[in-house]
């Protein structure tokens, strides 16, 4: 059983940069949590604080109920996979994997057993006597994971582990990591800036922005009920459409159209988020748009449209519909599928 609790964790660097601004978070046993956010949002700093590589300015970091703020990295029982793998270049794969155990004075037979076991899981059996320079990127990645696995840690930390791989291998490794984590049931944290990676890998997503936690939830929760305008626009590809509007007496006024049914929201200016796939094409619909560009993606197609008032919309449709540039279409949206955010705070209203 491993649970990690973050209590208003803060990090301020010596130069005054406030990288992490008070994060409360609980990570449950056996769960894979993804820290996702744009670069500079503090996700890597937060991970490094958990690993013990960055000092914690204030707040508590609790692993299984005991405070580990001041525990040495080596004694925290966490293993980390680095972005550039950080394999020891002069050691063979076998030594790379066993080095931590040797330092821990684990008996030799036990080290051998664990290394062979990890090599089997990661299909590294035949590479054990090679040096990192003789391995491909994907193989190095697996060795880095093997080095973490043999430690049998309470917590796995992945710091953008896939960003140095090509697209195809990345998709493959994504699946492999997911399977492996399920198989080993080790509580894990995975840092990425790639929202697709985040959605596919994570049990839960922690979306970070500007050193603060914007939202935590399962990928579907975050996608279908984004807690803020930032989350809505960060998660989801193609990007959500965000347009300015206003709620007056329970009716939403947006881009010249009116949609009733928002009586629970007080009168105020709002930002309206519409997912590209939430548009419905119908002849009696409310919005008239002109197609500006069509992107064929095979199974899908993306229509870039302009409204009479000059606003841009992205609409996603099943592929092969034969829409042409310059064509006029009429669309409508379902009120329940709209995301309304406060113009001032960016927080979700509906």
């Amino acid at each position: 059983m491993t649970t990690l609790t973050l209590n208003s964790l803060q990090k301020t660097y010596a130069n005054g940069t406030h990288a992490v601004r008070g994060i409360d978070l609980e990570i449950f046993d056996g769960e894979l949590t993804v820290f996702v956010g744009p670069s500079g949002c503090g996700k890597s700093t937060l991970l490094r604080m958990i690993a013990g590589l960055e000092e914690i300015t204030s707040g508590d970091l609790m692993l299984d109920g005991s405070r580990i703020n001041d525990v040495e990295p080596a004694h925290r029982d966490v293993a980390m996979v680095f972005q550039n793998y950080a394999l020891y270049p002069h050691m063979t794969v076998r030594r790379n994997m066993s080095y931590a155990l040797q330092n821990r004075k684990v008996p030799k037979a036990e080290i051998d057993r664990r290394v062979v076991e990890a090599a089997r899981i990661l299909q590294l059996d035949e590479l054990l006597e090679r040096k990192p320079a003789q391995l491909s990127g994907g193989q190095r990645q697996r060795v880095a994971m093997g080095r973490a696995i043999v430690r049998e840690p309470k917590l796995f930390l992945f710091d953008e582990p896939l960003s140095n791989l090509d697209a195809q291998l990345r998709a493959q490794m994504r699946v492999d990591i997911r399977k492996l984590q399920r198989q080993l049931r080790v509580t894990s944290i995975f840092v990425t800036h790639d929202q697709i990676e985040a959605m596919t890998v994570g049990d839960r997503l922690a979306v970070l922005n500007n050193g603060e936690l914007e939202q935590i939830g399962t990928p579907m929760e975050v996608y279908s009920k984004p807690a803020s305008e930032f989350v809505a626009s960060f998660i989801g590809s193609p990007r959500i459409n965000i347009v300015s509007g206003e709620v007056k007496a329970g009716t939403l006024h947006v881009d010249g159209f009116e949609l009733p049914g928002f009586s629970q929201i007080s009168d105020q200016p709002v930002k309206v988020g519409i997912r590209p796939e939430d548009f419905v094409l119908e002849s009696t619909a409310k919005m008239s748009l002109q197609i500006d560009l069509v992107e064929e993606l095979g199974s899908d197609e993306l229509l870039y449209c302009v409204s009479p008032t000059g606003l841009d919309y992205r609409i996603r449709r099943p592929g092969g519909s034969g829409h042409k540039v310059g064509e006029n279409i009429t669309v409508s949206v379902i009120s329940e599928k709209l995301h309304l955010f406060s113009s001032q705070s960016g927080k979700r209203l509906n």
């Binding site: 690993a51 013990g52 590589l53 040495e72 990295p73 080596a74 004694h75 966490v78 293993a79 980390m80 680095f82 972005q83 550039n84 950080a86 394999l87 020891y88 270049p89 002069h90 080095y99 931590a100 330092n103 821990r104 990192p132 320079a133 080095r147």
Partner: protein
Amino acid sequence: MKVLWVRYQLLNHLLLILGVAFLALPLWMVFASSTHDPATIIRDGMQLGLSDQFFETYLGVLTEKKGFTEQVTASMMMINSMILGVGFAVGKIIVSMTAAYAIVYFRFPLGTLLFWIIFTTLLLPLEVRIIPSYKVVADLGMLNSYSGLIIPLIASATGTFYFRQFFRSVPDELLEAAKLDGAGAWKFFIDILLPLSRTMMAALFIIMFVVGWNQYLWPLLMTTDESYSTIVLGIKSVMQTIDGNRLPEYNRGFALAILALIPPVLIVILFQRWFIKGLLESDK
């Protein structure tokens, strides 16, 4: 076309051969002359052809006690030079590596300032500070000893600078991975940094061994006891021994020069291979 190409190649080779001859001929003349007797050298000058005195001269130089006090053989001087050269190079590598390790990996007050102070000592070569250095070594009672020959010379600003630049190019993640793997400062140095620095160490060893081997002024001042004298000093003392009825033994001087050349050349050849191998295999 073919004829032109052949001519072009011939011209290239001619140039190369000229270059080799230009560099090698003086060496050859020294070697050839060392196999003649002193009278021939004085009468006819430097010789191009070999003579029959090779074994006599070289065996004599290596085994007969010569010098001002008639106490030292060339083989003893070779050993002294070897001790100085190896001690000098190894000492410099150890001192500069540990200094650079402290400067790069530990944050301590005035660290950067200290580094630049070390660096500015490059502006003060041995010749400038020879008198205070001598005084210090003399007061410590280290004259006429190997430690007196070696220790005062082993602090190296150049070495520290090279190692500092190298350590800074080692990715931080390696240090962090080692931290997570439970390697402390000492283990990180021994297990990770030292093996990664092999190429640097080989390169520095080549340079520093040759510099140490060729030291002249410092051993000259530090050693009055000829049993500590180095081969480079020995060459001079052989040439100086003129006692009225004997000719200066130029053949022996030349023989000593050739002998003095061999170890540095061997070191360069041996370590260069290792050095190049290290360069080809290295990736951090």
